[in-house]
Symmetry: C2
Subunit: 584 residues, 2 copies
């Protein structure tokens, strides 16, 4: 059986920055060539970044991507890398650009190309378009109907893009029909909790269906709300995991694969499963024997649930800060668990020297809160200052004589204004400390604690937050470092401290109970009656459902944050604001 040495570039493209992304392709292709690879692959929509959203509908952007692809092929050859075939995702369009109702104008396509010897040797478009959850690909793309098969060093390599292998039939079935020796799928598959297990099971199943090894190359990094965890996989037809990339890290995976020799003499245009037409490209090269020393990246070790989620949050935060052109962040530090975890994530994402925190006490702030905030700063080495909101508070109260909720919210808003003033003056990006439990029930202040450009824990339930904080402290102990989060911050009862002796349970159920019901209603999409039937107090369920339904506007105004669950409160969750649906 011939050998192929593959290079899988598990990297992080930047949306819209085509020049930067082209540079990256050249950079990693050179590394692949140096490692002796015979084929190098890059993620879905590598040239434009992913997801481009409505940029796909802008014709000049599509043309910029198409032009950059041709220039990239020429540049690779000019830089002596032309002999190494490069599989790379780009934004293209259908040559049959027939305006048709219900089809995006200009017929944009989610494409991949094979660059070789200075030219675009093959190009094709994604066949199955996902249109659920965070995906809107029926809005942006027209599907492709071609199965591309590369013959390279005596091996037939069939190509696919992401959703192509998530649905039955399609390119997986067609790859078997074409007698492919390898199926290579390039992906921009967003992270979700436990998705790694789902992906492994899927890739193994599809490898069996294709009857050949399946290479699943994923993107890594983050873009707006989406996190890409990498976790690229190579699985044999019998289900054996041959390689697995690291999570949340850029990496070039080099591996030798012993593959069946190509024997098919099918001709171009043959009709395969799902209306796919075969298009073969012969890239040449003699069949190669297995090298004396086979290279493999091995199988990256599994990590626990808390470790994985925490890394996802750090990845999302780092990417958002950097890709928006910021170096430093600003956080209001209350001494409570939410802002403490946000600060810890920020320290891990951008370094303590780039994290600026402000304690903004009011007359209702407890001494222990101030002490806990200061202690976290001391343990982590982040920049810390204290500015009282008392004078501003007094000025408003004298003018307006506020009471109750108006007085409570005022304190939160004065802090928001303080953070934005320091941000504008010093150039840090503000991180918002809200968690998913609070956002679900609207327990936050618009323009107050919701101020910020990014909310690192907005998709983390409060009960999970405690587990993450404890895990992070234990991890520090394992590494022989100081645990960053003061024990008192984790153990004391949560309080907004906006009136004397306030605690969260004055307004909300116990968080473990709240989060359980929220999980059924939000993630599980279960109706009120079904939740009550599961054994929860009807009055409690009604209260929670009412709170969730009426907090839609607040959630929509909340900054974006890293999505770690299937149903985060992000832009993919589309509900009417004037949502009077109560019994759902």
């Amino acid at each position: 059986m011939p050998n192929l040495r593959l290079a899988l570039s598990q990297i992080d493209p930047w949306v819209g920055d085509i020049a930067r992304n082209s540079d990256e392709v050249v950079h990693w292709t050179r590394k692949a060539a140096e490692a002796g690879a015979q084929l190098v692959a890059f993620p879905e929509l590598m040239l434009t970044g992913y997801p481009v959203e409505d940029l796909a509908l802008r014709r000049s952007f599509v043309e910029a991507s198409r032009t950059a692809l041709v220039e990239l092929a020429e540049r690779l050859a000019a830089e002596g890398l032309g002999e190494l075939p490069v599989v790379v995702g780009y934004l293209g369009r259908s040559e049959q650009d027939v305006p048709r109702a219900g089809r995006p104008a200009g017929s944009p396509q989610n494409c991949a190309a094979v660059l070789h010897r200075g030219t675009v040797a093959n190009r094709f478009a994604k066949h199955y378009l996902p249109n659920y959850g965070v995906f809107d690909e029926y809005r942006y793309f027209v599907p492709g109907n071609q199965l591309s098969v590369l013959r390279l060093h005596g091996v037939d390599v069939a190509l696919a893009i992401c959703e192509d292998i998530w649905q039955d039939g399609g390119r997986v079935a067609a790859a078997r029909e074409a007698g492919a020796g390898l199926l290579l799928s390039i992906n921009g598959s967003p992270y979700e909790r436990n998705k790694d297990d789902v992906r492994l099971e899927l890739v193994a199943r599809r490898a069996a269906e294709a009857g050949c090894p399946l290479v699943y190359l994923n993107m890594v990094g983050a873009q707006d709300e989406l996190i890409f965890d990498g976790d690229s996989l190579v699985v044999a037809a019998d289900g054996e995991v041959l390689a697995r990339g690291p999570k949340f890290e850029e990496s070039l995976l080099i591996l030798d694969l012993n593959l069946p020799a190509a024997t098919s003499d099918q001709t171009d245009g043959l009709l395969l499963s799902d209306g796919l037409r075969l298009v073969r490209t012969d890239l040449g090269g003699e069949p190669l024997p297995a090298p004396a020393e086979r290279v493999t990246p091995g199988i990256a070790p599994e990590v626990g649930d808390e470790a994985e989620i925490y890394q996802a949050l750090v990845t999302g935060t780092r990417a958002y800060v950097r890709k928006n052109g910021f170096k430093s962040v600003l956080i209001g530090l209350s001494g409570g668990i939410d802002s403490a975890l946000v600060a810890t994530i920020a320290v891990d994402a951008v370094g303590a020297e780039n994290v600026h925190c402000v304690s903004m006490p009011s007359r209702y702030s407890s001494q222990h809160s101030r002490d806990d905030a200061a202690e976290l700063a001391e343990r982590t080495g982040l920049n810390f200052r204290t500015v009282s909101i008392a004078p501003m508070f007094d000025a408003y109260m004298e003018s307006l004589g506020l009471t109750g909720l108006a007085e409570e919210n005022l304190q939160s808003r004065l802090r928001g204004t303080m953070l934005m003033a320091i941000s504008n003056q010093e150039g840090h990006i503000v991180l918002a400390p809200g968690n998913k439990s609070e956002l679900a029930v609207g327990y936050s202040t618009l323009y107050g604690d919701s101020v910020g450009a990014y909310g690192p824990i907005k998709d983390v339930y409060k009960s999970l937050l405690f587990r993450l904080a404890s895990w992070r402290n234990e991890e520090a102990v394992r590494r022989g470092e100081t645990p960053p989060i003061p024990e008192n911050t984790i153990s004391k009862p949560p309080s907004a401290e906006l009136r004397p002796d306030q605690v969260d349970t004055d307004s909300l159920p116990d968080y473990d109970l709240l989060d359980t019901v929220l999980d059924l209603y939000v993630e599980g999409d279960q109706g009120r009656d079904a939740i009550v039937a599961a054994g929860f107090d009807p009055e409690l369920v009604d209260r929670i459902v009412r709170l969730v339904d009426t907090a839609e506007y607040k959630r929509r105004q909340y900054p974006p944050g890293p999505k770690i669950s299937v149903k985060g409160f992000g832009r993919d969750r589309r509900l009417p604001i004037t949502n009077r649906w109560r019994r759902g």
Copy 2:
């Protein structure tokens, strides 16, 4: 030719409030029966309101709609209205609920039903699903493949839902094949500038294609960002406009139509165009002669562009305030044109007695601004007060020593906090005064002038704003009323008044020029090079394009507002935040 008396209920359903919407159907059906109608029609998704967005994916909500439909049929009969057939939109699901990749779970459908004699006599689902602009119907619905034809008093009435007639073929072609004497389409067709002309042309063309009169019944009112203008149409096969409903007003249109006698003897299940299957329902009734006095609602007069847009903004604002359960609004009144127009719209939407305005002068506020604000209040009779932001400003400056943009933004944020404090204390909903030109280039302060639950003019370019203000004043003169907006507010150069002698043109190009370029870039989706080629200064175009591209986050955090253009800055415009695309 037999006669049919139709009743078209051009009304405003409330999203999610199925009980209220059912009551409305009974209420308007009774009116239709009293007017002697033989068939009454209600808009698309009448029972649930439109659009329901992700509520369609919640199974308990779909079941609530289906149950309510059956109960409504029974209730109509119980209240003596069972003999009058009712065509009504509801949220249903496919009986073939086969889970399939790429298909919404539970197979929800955008349905319509015919209620008659206490039962659901016919039900069918929308065939063509729009999936562009504000529409995401591939995400929510599976298509229907049935052409429903009612035989009623000797006339065959074919039924359609909205997009069914916006695309070629489909139910329009099938209606002709079925020999229908009338094609009735129920709609939830959002308002856009000049869409009335497009609709009329479309309906006339489709009537010709169907070979029979076409009834186009539209919703009226507003939901979140969408406005529904009504403007229901009845057009004969030869293009003659037989009736046209009013714009932006609930109305029951009663009209007699002389229609071809039904002759078809096609059987159920016949395969028509686009895979549609014929399903006939015989509702009985003898053919009726034309009545001695034919009833017609006539043709509502056309209105000018400014009048139409202004009415749209008032409609959107009124619906948003009411449907969110508020009675009164709060606006920061600066004396400038933006807040003046917002206040005028609010007065027209909810009445002067429910409009509360605050002047919040700082050391940089001019006397003429304060005077202009006070004069607008006097002319309109709205509630007016003045609260200085000086003491709060001094408190912050003493603590933080801000300069430049940080100092400017601080003033805006102190006003935002002031408005929210008053809103929390007194219960008014805050309206934000930002216009489309500002939002496009990011010339606004996050948590400052962007504070509010709704932005009535967020889709109005500054240059159009001046025209609307002048039109509103002229309209007052025509009605013999006091023009609401002080002339000085319209004639003075726009200024944010956040530093001494500041005017908008310090930071921005002249608004007429800016708006022309924005229109090419935003509405026209033209690239930078195309705009320069059209004769604009390359440096200016680069600057505007850069501003628009980098202001995405601010725009996304802005409150919703009434959408009057194809490309408003609403939730339907989906762009990455970290959008480094510059040349597009």
